[in-house]
Symmetry: C2
Subunit: 231 residues, 2 copies
DNA sequence: GTCTATAGTCGGATAGAC
DNA sequence: GTCTATCCGACTATAGAC
């Protein structure tokens, strides 16, 4: 839309030459909702409003398109997450942050995770792909795991290590951090169950706020930070 | 095997007339690993060592087989879970159990969940179906949700309500219980990530014990039961 | 770069013999 | 109840015009 590539008047194709981008967008949506096997190349091409042959032309195969989507997710989410992680790592390396500061950073990471997932409108698309890769890893798993999940987990382990005064590399620490992350993951995985149980229509800002409040409260409890808490 | 239906000698088919059961077993395994769309009827028939037409004959369609699998899971898991839930409900209704007793029952429910999932050998099969239905509900979701998940969640909410002295029907209580459940769900969903991070080969009894220990510890923290805890 | 047409394969389902 | 053979639609991928 920003590049006026065609001087001719209106064509049939709404966005000239951006077939590649439109394919990735459509694939992100459709793969996220219905899984790789659940979407046909015809459906992808139709939703992207490109020709069927464009998938082979740009990505070599349906699987190539899927991997392009994984890289897209990694870039999109990574660009939001990695700066924050770098900040925390710097703080951990340079200074010797106090327990309270580490806890604050831990909460910040949780906020980032909530913000990029539950809080984001288009999160439902990539979260579906992300979760499915967790359950049934393909070549895309490495991209997503190494790019986003492992750095986040490692960073949280270091913070938890300082807060709890335990070895961040210990198996128990890693498990505890996974358990913490699991609380958030639950609301993605079991979205249908949660909304049905609570009579929600979906995850609007109010519902997300309720979840965030519980998760922050739980973070405090799980890291032994509760000094004078009311329940 | 128990019904000697054929008086003839050994046939090609290893189990006479139990085509139906073998199809459900194969479908449980294959659907659990590869999802509904990821498995063809030919693959199903081959693994079940039945004829291709048997799927239509016994279940009407591939989808019919899938629903039969969902009912099978509901029966199989329900038979283990529902008696415990009934026990807890009875205890809650009849007596007025103390906080400690409620906490013990809460831990018991967690143990049941771990035992039927992480602790069970063939759990990986049905857990995959269960989780996929959570993400992408189909007609099978109602069977699994109403049969197993909702009763479990409701029961845990009642216990949590007494332990925390809050309304078991309150949205916050429901969310807190979902968060608790999420800790366990995480280790199913992110099995690949967890094993890779921890250098595990899978979830053997030792690994499950590590997870159980953390989850029980967290349960204590999340329900405010920590009187004199070290960490 | 974009399109049509089609190759070649595999999918779920069915008919009808036994 | 079980099997073979087959229909027919849908699939991914490709060839080649423009």
């Amino acid at each position: 839309m920003s590049t006026p590539s065609a001087q001719t008047s209106l064509r049939q194709s709404p966005a000239p030459e951006h077939a590649r981008k439109r394919l990735v967008d459509a694939a992100l949506d459709l793969f996220g909702r219905y899984s790789f096997d659940g979407v046909s190349t015809r459906t992808l091409a139709r939703q992207a409003r490109v020709n069927l042959a464009a998938i082979q032309y740009y990505f070599g195969s349906k699987e190539g398109l899927y991997l392009a989507v994984a890289r897209h997710i990694d870039q999109r989410i990574g660009s939001q997450v990695r700066p924050v992680l770098a900040e925390v790592e710097t703080a951990l390396a340079a200074r010797n942050p106090s327990r309270d500061v580490c806890f604050a950073m831990m909460c910040r990471l949780l906020e980032v995770m909530i913000g990029t997932t539950l809080g984001s409108i288009d999160s439902k698309k990539w979260v579906g792909i992300f979760m499915r890769e967790q359950m049934e890893p393909s070549a895309a798993f490495d991209i997503l795991f190494e790019g986003v999940m492992r750095p986040m987990h490692r960073c949280m382990c270091r913070l938890a290590g300082r807060i709890l005064d335990v070895d961040p590399e210990a198996a128990e620490t890693k498990i505890r951090v996974y358990a913490i992350m699991g609380q958030l993951v639950m609301f993605h995985i079991s979205r249908a169950a949660v909304t049905r149980t609570l009579g929600w229509q979906g995850f609007q800002s109010e519902e997300v706020a309720s979840i965030r409040a519980v998760l922050l409260q739980n973070m405090r409890a799980l890291l032994g930070m509760e000094d004078a808490r009311s329940t």
